[in-house]
Symmetry: C2
Subunit: 671 residues, 2 copies
Amino acid sequence: MDIETLRARHPDHWMRAAAIRTLALDAVAAANSGHSGMPMGMADVATVLFEKHLKFDPKAPRWPDRDRFILSAGHGSMLIYALLHLTGYEDVTLDEIKNFRQWGAITAGHPEYGHVAGVETTTGPLGQGIANSVGFAMAEAHLRARWGAKVQDHYTWVIAGDGCLMEGVSQEAIGIAGKHKLNRLIVMWDDNGITIDGKVSLSDATDQKARFAASGWNVLACDGHDPEAIDAAMVAAKKSDRPTLIACKTHIALGHAAQDTSKGHGALTDKAQLEAAKAGYGWNHGPFEIPANIKAEWEAMGARGAAAHADWQARVAGLSAAKQAELRRIFTDEAPAKLPAAIRAVKKAAVEAPAKLATRSASEKVLAAVNPIMPETFGGSADLTGSNNTKTADLGAFNQETPAGRYMYWGIREHGMASAMNGMALHGGVRPYSGTFMAFTDYARPAMRLSALMGLPVVYVMTHDSIGLGEDGPTHQPVEHLAISRATPNTLVLRPADLVEVAECWEIAFSQKSTPSVMALSRQNLAAVRKTHTNTNLSAKGAYVLAEATGKRQVILMATGSEVEIALKAREMLEAQGIGTRVVSMPSMELFAQQDEAYRKKVLPAGPVRVAIEAGVRLGWDRWLLGERGRDTKADFVGMSSFGASAPYDRLYKEFGITAEAAVEKAKALL
Amino acid sequence: MDIETLRARHPDHWMRAAAIRTLALDAVAAANSGHSGMPMGMADVATVLFEKHLKFDPKAPRWPDRDRFILSAGHGSMLIYALLHLTGYEDVTLDEIKNFRQWGAITAGHPEYGHVAGVETTTGPLGQGIANSVGFAMAEAHLRARWGAKVQDHYTWVIAGDGCLMEGVSQEAIGIAGKHKLNRLIVMWDDNGITIDGKVSLSDATDQKARFAASGWNVLACDGHDPEAIDAAMVAAKKSDRPTLIACKTHIALGHAAQDTSKGHGALTDKAQLEAAKAGYGWNHGPFEIPANIKAEWEAMGARGAAAHADWQARVAGLSAAKQAELRRIFTDEAPAKLPAAIRAVKKAAVEAPAKLATRSASEKVLAAVNPIMPETFGGSADLTGSNNTKTADLGAFNQETPAGRYMYWGIREHGMASAMNGMALHGGVRPYSGTFMAFTDYARPAMRLSALMGLPVVYVMTHDSIGLGEDGPTHQPVEHLAISRATPNTLVLRPADLVEVAECWEIAFSQKSTPSVMALSRQNLAAVRKTHTNTNLSAKGAYVLAEATGKRQVILMATGSEVEIALKAREMLEAQGIGTRVVSMPSMELFAQQDEAYRKKVLPAGPVRVAIEAGVRLGWDRWLLGERGRDTKADFVGMSSFGASAPYDRLYKEFGITAEAAVEKAKALL
């Protein structure tokens, strides 16, 4: 079908969609950078969605019961900026669109969560949006079950491209959504047959519709340029008892010389071709110019949601004051006022009855105390529930029959799990934490980075955090993974040493509002190192003096997690030789770095030699060993410089030289 | 069907398979650790495979035309150890099996490539084996096309579990195999319906057979305990024109009290239950005891391949001496003798006509010179061919029609690409390199770690290696990714500064035999920094003096890649102020660390203050800034401490303070 026919068939719709297409063309041309073709291809689908289906209110973009719109194909960012501008999101001014991809503009190259109201998640790394959306739909189903449809009753709409569907994480997401019949999840696939390298058929022959059907999805198809067909598919999708894929047959860069080619994917900046495309659309307006009547039609779509929003507000106003406050609390990630007392109680009990305990087991004890007073927590594991110790008695499994359940059996899907946790946190009203083995940080990395970039307070429960896991061997033994998370901006790495520190670290993690936490926990049992109770959360300062030198302080030993008990043993040996030795427990480098210089110098004064002990690589330690500008002192490190091996863990510690004896020797060599 | 019936129906087969089951039970019980249930469930399938189909010769386990057997469900490692022991692989003695999972044993908890002949790849991280196998099958198809079926003509057999199929990477692998009709790839799915957390139905409702069919696979099914049905499926699979999935319906921990339960997944160590299982098998022998007649039957299977091996040797002996030498060369990862001269020619030409050039473009130039003289190279990109600059004119696309093509359009599948590259390298005869954006290291991480752990000389071409990529914004801008790769043991990170260094770095990468390389390349154009020609590969020492101080050396500036030109500019500014400044280019920290102390001290003498400049995080730099034991000097760092932003790249460098001015200021503050 040619442009003429499309225009003639639905002239009003056509011009509304043309507003998107021309804004995308103009913004990309102005930036001389970006992706024109996707917004041009999906303009019709997006127009019908915003006009007829999406429940949204540009005046209240954070309203908890709005529909969520996820642009998984994030490179087509001008699609969402155009939609938000046209429907009246006040931040997205025409100036912002003219400054697309420029320093200081909120209209970043890819949609960035937090820059623009209406951008529900950061996308660009392909497959993330569709996997986030599973978390959005889970959160909606869960909260609907707990709060009732009066409070939560909405859809999650996703636009995904071929790239999203080729990324493996999409399969994990599809599997989760299909299993749990997340029927409020509707994915519109931009089926344009084109990728950057050429036709999709160059690299893939998958029947996507059959693939989604195989995982239990409702599968529909439509001509992605026919507004009636699009609408009919959306109407049908909303009625399904399963998640829906709508395969929207589209033309990338519709109406441009680059239509249906991989060139159409990128920045279409040729002036003459741009003008020709606009002329073909019947669009006789200057760059960035939207005629008032068309803008008014779009703003009317934006105004449509005000009534639904007002209804929702009225319904919520009917809740008790306590319930309203609770709703506000969970949607603003406020920890409950009771949390500190619950943590203190765990700490007190721990000190009163010290026991050898793996920190993963300690973690379960803390969660058992916290989950009952934090109904917004939502736990899970990537098929390692018994190993990650993430399930407490009161949670109950989340599934279609019991959507109020607070525990997810994610299956063997670390990446999908992490990405869905992001979606849950973005949705709001739930505080997700889930576990896997720390070595499988690698599988979850793309989503963990986005947790940090978006500032989402999710918690990654990473157990089996060193060679201490023993016999499973080097594939399962993290060596570089503490360094990986520490290298990532805005990520809290917490590696507690015993039950007391575990309790403190959970308090820290569950008090975050804009930072994800990586909780590194041991498989093996560890001795209790905190012998006296203190109400203060010592871990909150990142590092603190656990044991002071008797006599002249000549050595400072630093350690985290399972190696703190080794440091204490080394201290005893050094002290026995008359060498005054302080032990610093450092559960979080990031938190320690945030302390003022006076505190940092108090914990790590210049002078004594320093040895750090951690069953991982050295990267990240030098700052604390040597001081940021150098010359603080002499220092050394006891840890790993290779991959691990398969054997019982105590043998591994000995063979890899992570022992009190090694620490003593290195310290003495520096004196 | 009960055990009695199974035994009665195929008594001889039954006892052969029982040898596997009892070895697995005994070894796991002795180790008090491991996974018994999978070997017990898949023993029948494996027995039929080794007895009737697998082309292998235990006396020549590295024979290039053997069939490859991949245990993707690597936790079932006792299955492969039992098979190798029984069929006569001499390394896998009964003592090794008795020492399963112990220090120094080759029988690691998960199968480790390089420990045991017959273990074709390291598995355990789920989904990797099946994705490796795509690379194996590609290499076979490619080499068959290039060398003829007389030289390469074999199958790749895979055992995969539900975990492998749930991991997203499996979808990427399935898609690649289906598209390219890799019909020598046969996957036996251990369809036992059980994962660690419980039934598969707890977390997944995918119709796996329909899913594979959707990607163009031949799909078969059989009773995984009926040797005739298994054999029939394997016969049919070998005749298919497409890759085949055989869904093998099995019982995990067959015949044990834990059969068909998630408990059966792990270590079955209860003595009475173990004895009961053996009794049920009709196995009246002591622990680790294999009756001579049964061992003889297994050894006969092992002997079967000798004839095929001898035939192959005879066929290869018929090749010209040059061809035979070439075959040996490519299967031992020897770089061709011509490589250094080709590299020198590129370097010479570069110095004679210096030009501003992105290092990714420089890389393409080098590849254009090298690919014609290294027919074993095999390039590719995850749908960023034009951006990664990995395709040179002579390669040709690999696909079913042109399997001799040396370039793969991987699609948007970084993880599957990396894992398949591992498979290609493991297969031998090809030297794979492929590209994506460096930020998407995250997607490829699980496979990149395995490249390092296995010691595979693959090359990751990671372009757009900093905020220098500009407008695409923080999702696409690596910040922590150099640190991530540097934190990983046995990984060469190469970040060249201009065409000369790029040529040197490719020589280094293509000369590796047991280390993967990460080639970090810029999107943006860079000035040439190497102005005089030298035959020596200066980058091979990891770091070298690029520009010496005039007068007293007060400052040493260190930089890599795109920041070397900033360091040179800062040097000019400092020298203009009378501050003698050396510039050290450091394309590889790992190579520099391998130099002797004398060289390291020559390049970085104690005394002058040091400033490092790199558009990434500081982690990893302190060792060179401060000296390993500290106190070398005072130092500072110019780089990133947050995620990036969306804007033109020169603006970003200015806004994030990665400038010559900043380096000058920091250096002067230390003096």
